[in-house]
Subunit: 107 residues, 2 copies
């Protein structure tokens, strides 16, 4: 992101920006949609599905895990990634609060 001066912004502004940053990538959108579509999900399927190299997918999954948006359960040799629904709803609420509050007083 270059040199963002996060010190001069408040926690809510930095947190929102951090959430948006993780979502600001079509591969991660695609991964989330793919995980959402499956009942359960296996990482190697994601690699086949998305069309990016395995290390790249792994890195994207790490970013999504960093936001606690998904969690991976070990299933033998494989990993079963799932959408973390509580966090998903929490973030949706955060974004809606931002959208609603910002437009509330507006001209």
């Amino acid at each position: 992101m270059g040199i963002t001066k996060s010190q001069i912004f408040n926690d809510q502004q930095n947190e929102l920006a951090a959430i948006f940053r993780v979502l600001a990538n079509p591969a991660r959108i695609a991964i989330l949609e793919f995980i959402g579509d499956q009942q359960a999900c296996i990482c190697n399927d994601i690699v086949d599905q998305i069309g990016l190299a395995q290390p790249t997918i792994s890195q994207h999954l790490k970013e999504l895990k960093g936001l606690d948006l998904i969690s991976g359960e070990v299933a033998g040799k494989k990993l079963c990634y799932c959408l973390n629904l509580d966090r998903w709803n929490e973030i949706q609420d955060l974004l809606n609060t931002f959208f609603n509050q910002t437009k509330a007083n507006c001209c």
Copy 2:
């Protein structure tokens, strides 16, 4: 953003990512909140308020205008930026659709 392979994703995924990208910066969040708070808004006030240099603010405003999230009206020597409410609601709907659809089938 480095070399994002947008060709391999669909329009909806790229559009969502582009929207999130513009929002993924605390200065732009702060600008939107500030514009939302005012009844009307003048750019120079934004510079005073946010604490970044004038060219930097100008660039951020350009990004927000690029998404059609705000629009600026010439008011004499000054520019009066306002939230574009229709677009604001449209984007809020897009994001909610993404959140709702993604979690719909999920485990």
